[in-house]
C-alpha cells in the first residue's frame, strides 16, 4: 500500500461520512483500502459481522449501500437529478424506519471555485438534498445542513473525475 493510499484510508477512518467505498474508482484517486485497513476502529462497516446498532450511521451506510449516502452535482449546479432522487429515496426509506434518527447533510464543492462562493454553493447543495428528503416525508427538523465549500475534498486529484466526486451532498447520521 502506498503512503498516499494509507493517508486516504486514514482519512476514511477519520471521517464519519464514509465507510465502504469500493466502486467508481477514478484515475488519480488512490485505491480505496480494503476493510481490514480500517476495520479495527469498530466504527465502520465490516463483513466480519461486528454488531451494528440499528439506526446508527453504520446501519445507515449498510442499508443505503456503497455511495448511497451521497448525491453528485454538475459544475455550479445544485439540481436533484433522477439518479439523485433514487439515492435520496433510499435514504428516506431508512429514515422512515428510524424516526428518531437525525442527520446532517454536508454540502461540498470542487476546488475550481472561489472560497466564499463555494461555501454558498455547498450550502445550496445541502439544502437541495434536504428539501428533497423533506418532500419524501422526512420531517425537515430532523435534517441539519452544513457547507464545507471546497475545504474537504473526497478525491484528491485536480481533474474532471475528481471534481465530479467532490461536488456532492453527503448524508450523515448524527450520533
Amino acid at each position: 500500500m502506498t503512503n498516499k493510499a494509507r493517508t486516504f484510508a486514514l482519512l476514511l477512518v477519520a471521517s464519519t461520512t464514509l465507510a465502504a467505498c469500493g466502486k467508481k474508482e477514478v484515475e488519480n484517486v488512490p485505491p480505496v483500502a480494503d476493510n481490514t485497513t480500517y476495520g479495527n476502529t469498530g466504527d465502520t462497516v465490516t463483513p466480519s459481522g461486528n454488531a451494528i446498532i440499528p439506526g446508527s450511521q453504520e446501519d445507515f451506510l449498510q442499508s443505503v449501500g456503497s455511495m448511497g449516502d451521497r448525491i453528485f452535482f454538475d459544475t455550479d449546479r445544485f439540481n436533484i437529478d433522477t439518479a439523485d432522487q433514487a439515492t435520496l429515496q433510499t435514504q428516506a426509506q431508512w429514515l422512515a424506519r428510524y424516526p428518531n434518527a437525525r442527520v446532517t447533510v454536508e454540502g461540498h464543492a470542487d476546488e475550481r471555485g472561489t472560497r466564499d462562493y463555494n461555501l454558498a454553493l455547498g450550502e445550496r447543495r445541502a439544502n437541495a438534498a434536504k428539501n428533497y428528503l423533506a418532500s419524501l416525508g422526512v420531517d425537515a427538523s430532523r435534517i441539519q445542513t452544513v457547507s464545507y465549500g471546497k475545504e474537504r475534498p473526497q478525491a484528491l486529484g485536480s481533474n474532471e473525475e475528481a471534481w465530479a466526486q467532490n461536488r456532492r451532498a453527503v448524508t450523515v447520521v448524527i450520533r
Binding site: L11, R112, R115, Y117, A120, E123, R152, P153, L156, S158
Partner: protein, 452 residues
C-alpha cells in the same frame, strides 16, 4: 552638524509603546523635474538605482534587539529589500558597499556615489537613547543633483526596529514614485499545513514583508477568510469552531472572540467598512445566500440583497458609499455594484467567463477580482467595469487584497493536484510578481492599512 542631537529634540512619546512619529519634517525642497510624482502607472522601465549603505551607529550599544551597529545594518537590509521587492528600485547595499561615517549622513560624498552609478542615496543613523529606545534617522539624497530630497526620523523600542525601516522605505518610495506608502502595514492570512484531503488551516498574522509572523489559532477548527480591522485591533474571520461556518470577531489584545451575529444560519465572507464601524457579511438561509451589514457594536442586521441565487462577498468603496459584490443571479458569478444601502444594484463585469472576489482599491480607482475562464487569474477593472486587465497567469490565482496605497496586490496561488497554496504579490503592471515568505503554506491574505 550633530544629527543625533538635533533629531533627539523632536522625540515624541505616544502610549509608551511605539513612538513612531516623524522627528523632522521633510525639507520642502522642490525635487528635480524628473522626480515629480508623475507616475500614473508603474513604469518598470524606470527602475531607480539607489544605494543603501548600513545605517551608522555613532556610539554602538547593546539593546534588547541586539547591538545598535548590527541594527543599523539590518535596518538598511530591510529598506533595501522593501525597495527591491516593489519592483521599482535596484538597490545596492548594504552588503557589498562601503560603510559610511556619521559625518557623511548629513554631508554625502556625491562624487563617490556618482562613481557607483547610483541615482539616489539613503543614509542614516541609529542611536540608543537613555531610555533604551532607538532613534533612527533616515536621509534621501539625489546623487546627480547633489541635493537632499527628504529626511525622516523615528523613535522606536528596539523590538520595533523593523517598523523604523519600513517607515524609512515608505518615505523613500513615496518621494521617488509619487505614490502613497505601503510597507509599514500588516497582513492577516490563513496558514495551511497537512495533506490536501485534511488541510489544517490556522489564522495567522505577519508584517507586509512576512516578518513578525504569529499564529493566532491552533488549527483545531478550520479558519478561513480573515480581515484585519482598519485599526488593527481585531480580525474578522470564519471559523468552524462550533462545527458550522460562522463569522467571529477576534480581539488581538485579549485573545477573545465573539460571533458577529446570533443566527442558526451559516455566516461567511466577512468584510469591514473603511471606518471600521460596519461589518459586511454573507448569510445563507434555506440555501439562498444574501449580503447583510451590521454595526460592529451589534444590533439588527440589514439585508442588502434579495435576488434568488448567491450574492456573496462584497467590498466597500473607500468613501463607504458603495459596495462591490459578487452574484450569480444572472446565471454565473459576476461583479455587481450597489449603494451602501443596497439600492441601485447593477452588473459591471461583461468580459466573458466568471468573475469573483471583487475588492475595491483603497484609492477608489480600481476593483481587483478573480477571473475564472479555465484558469483562475487576478485582474483589475475600473468601478464602471471598463479597462479590464489581467495581472497574473497561473492555474489558480485567487482572492486579491490591496496594499494600502492601491498599487500592489496580494493573492493566493493553489498548485494543481497537490493543493499546496502560497501567498503572492504583484504590482499593477503585472510584471513584478513574487512569492511571500511564509513559514508554511498560505492562503486568503488580507492587507491592512498603513500603521499610524
Amino acid at each position: 552638524m550633530k544629527p543625533n542631537r538635533s533629531l533627539i529634540g523632536f522625540l515624541l512619546s505616544i502610549l509608551g509603546l511605539i513612538t513612531l512619529a516623524p522627528i523632522a519634517a521633510a525639507q520642502e525642497t522642490a525635487p528635480p523635474a524628473d522626480d515629480e510624482p508623475e507616475l500614473v502607472e508603474f513604469d518598470t522601465a524606470k527602475v531607480r538605482r539607489i544605494a543603501v549603505p548600513a545605517l551608522v551607529a555613532p556610539n554602538p550599544a547593546d539593546t534588547a534587539a541586539g547591538n545598535s551597529s548590527t541594527l543599523g545594518r539590518q535596518i538598511a537590509e530591510v529598506i533595501s529589500a522593501n525597495l527591491r521587492n516593489s519592483g521599482l528600485f535596484e538597490p545596492q547595499g548594504p552588503a557589498g558597499i562601503r560603510p559610511i561615517t556619521i559625518e557623511e549622513v548629513t554631508a554625502p560624498q556625491y562624487d563617490y556615489w556618482k562613481g557607483r552609478n547610483v541615482e539616489q542615496l539613503v543614509e542614516g543613523f541609529v542611536r540608543v537613547g537613555g531610555d533604551g529606545n532607538l532613534t533612527v534617522g533616515c536621509y534621501l539624497y539625489d546623487v546627480n543633483f547633489g541635493q537632499e530630497l527628504t529626511r525622516m526620523g523615528f523613535v522606536v523600542p528596539p523590538r520595533e526596529w523593523r517598523r523604523a525601516a519600513h517607515k524609512c522605505a515608505d518615505a523613500i518610495y513615496s518621494k521617488l514614485t509619487g505614490e502613497l506608502p505601503f510597507f509599514d502595514s500588516r497582513i492577516a492570512y490563513i496558514a495551511e499545513t497537512g495533506p490536501k484531503g485534511k488541510r489544517v488551516k490556522r489564522l495567522a498574522i505577519m508584517d507586509s514583508d512576512g516578518a513578525n509572523h504569529r499564529f493566532i489559532t491552533n488549527g483545531q477548527s478550520t479558519a478561513l477568510t480573515p480581515r484585519f480591522s482598519p485599526n488593527y485591533k481585531s480580525i474578522l474571520y470564519l471559523s468552524y469552531q462550533d462545527g458550522n461556518p460562522r463569522i467571529y470577531v477576534y480581539d488581538i489584545d485579549s485573545g477573545r472572540q465573539r460571533l458577529i451575529t446570533a443566527s442558526a444560519n451559516p455566516t461567511f465572507a466577512p468584510r469591514w467598512s473603511p471606518d471600521g464601524q460596519t461589518i459586511l457579511y454573507s448569510m445563507a438561509v434555506a440555501g439562498n445566500t444574501d449580503i447583510y451589514k451590521i454595526s460592529v457594536n451589534g444590533g439588527a442586521p440589514v439585508k442588502l440583497t434579495s435576488a434568488p441565487g448567491i450574492d456573496v462577498g462584497g467590498s466597500f468603496s473607500p468613501d463607504g458609499r458603495q459596495i462591490v459584490f459578487e452574484s450569480d443571479r444572472g446565471g454565473s458569478q459576476q461583479i455587481y455594484v450597489m449603494n451602501a444601502d443596497g439600492s441601485n444594484q447593477r452588473r459591471i463585469s461583461h468580459g466573458g467567463g466568471r468573475y469573483a472576489t471583487p475588492e475595491w482599491s483603497p484609492r477608489g480607482d480600481l476593483i481587483a477580482y478573480t477571473r475564472i475562464a479555465g484558469d483562475f487569474r487576478v485582474g483589475v477593472m475600473r468601478p464602471d467595469g471598463s479597462g479590464e486587465r489581467l495581472l497574473t497567469d497561473s492555474w489558480q490565482d485567487e482572492a486579491p487584497t490591496w496594499a494600502p496605497n492601491g498599487r500592489v496586490i496580494q493573492f493566493f496561488r493553489t498548485e494543481r493536484n497537490t493543493g499546496k497554496t502560497s501567498v503572492w504579490q504583484v504590482d499593477l503592471t503585472g510584471r513584478n510578481e513574487r512569492k511571500l515568505p511564509t513559514p508554511v503554506d498560505g492562503s486568503d491574505p488580507a492587507w491592512g492599512p498603513v500603521l499610524p
